[in-house]
Symmetry: C2
Subunit: 204 residues, 2 copies
């Protein structure tokens, strides 16, 4: 069984960059779609959202398609931003946040505002991957535990990386080198879990 190339079910620049790096390590070429299908993330779960994206791109291109749905789960915020991570700034929970610079920035400001007086700063980055080959495929997940910082640090990565400090690290996710981030991150773990099952079936 050989997997040489997958179509990424996303046009998000941050995800594309990481996926190309993570999959390249396994000799897999990650292709970026030439159009953004703008899938409504209408479901209530990371897995289902990943499936919906993978399915939409599969129906359009009929190629092995890899989708990622991921987010930051904060127990003190009742699990939010969770599946709403990428558009938390516009979600009614906790009041909307104006986009001044970027959406990432607005999302971060909202989490910091809601966490201002909060002692329990635990958080988990969660990623679900779905590889869609048509009527069947693979799935995997990866998690990264950490804490929410009181202010942004670092300029690497994307999304909530500047305010997330992984367990065992003294740097924010945005201060890590790409190699360090891949080793610790939810997405890095999810890709390794996926490749492990693709390479050996996970059933040895």
């Amino acid at each position: 069984m050989k997997l040489k190339k997958v179509l990424l079910a996303t046009t998000n620049a941050g995800k594309v960059k990481e996926m190309k790096r993570l999959l390249g390590f396994y000799g897999i070429d990650a292709e970026v779609p030439d159009e953004d299908l703008r899938i409504e993330e209408g479901s209530s779960s990371f897995l289902e959202n990943a499936y919906l994206k993978a399915q939409a791109y599969w129906e359009r291109y009929r190629k092995p398609t890899l989708a990622d749905d991921s987010g930051l789960v904060v127990p003190a915020l009742g699990g939010y931003p969770g599946i709403f991570s990428s558009r938390f700034y516009s979600h009614e929970y906790g009041g909307k946040e104006e986009v001044i610079a970027t959406k990432d920035d607005a999302n971060i400001r909202k989490v910091l505002r809601l966490m201002k007086e909060v002692k329990d700063r635990r958080a988990t980055f969660v990623a679900f991957l779905v590889l869609n080959l048509g009527y069947s495929g693979y799935w995997s997940k990866g998690e990264c535990n950490g804490v929410i910082l009181t202010e942004p640090k670092g300029s690497g990565g994307f999304g909530y990386d500047p305010i997330f400090q992984p367990e065992g690290s003294e740097k924010s996710m945005a201060e890590l080198t790409p190699e360090e981030k891949d080793l610790l991150s939810h997405r890095g773990k999810a890709v390794r879990n996926l490749m492990s099952i693709i390479k050996n079936g996970g059933l040895t």
Copy 2:
């Protein structure tokens, strides 16, 4: 890669019987759990429900776990019974139905009542499978198109089988022999799609 045995994430007698038969064909032993974890099918999708069941049994038993979530999708009923198929009788949509004999019987009476004056009798049986190996696994789906009959026929199968006639067949699903049902059914197709990817990775 060898898969000799899976734990079924169900205690539903009808599903267990079919799964044992379908997997047995591939030399796989389907084990039945010694307790019913009674997973709340709380999600809005077949895939997510299958994952939640597979995950709950995996957490309890730490063995390769196979879950099925399936249902009857009727366009004229706005997609119902859908993910509510097994407990449609108690769902508020279209009014509840009393359980006199079995739940299957109450579900069937409700669909027939709601479809009484309905001309468009198309329906699709849908099954999603999730094989959970811990942090990764396989998924597959299978569909069977057909029509809703005006009254129950046959005593084989389970669930809505007596009122569902597959496309190209002149018998209801409940009138088919087990071998005929496996060839046509959503579950049969889903198992073959799953085994195809497990056997050869689906990426040849």
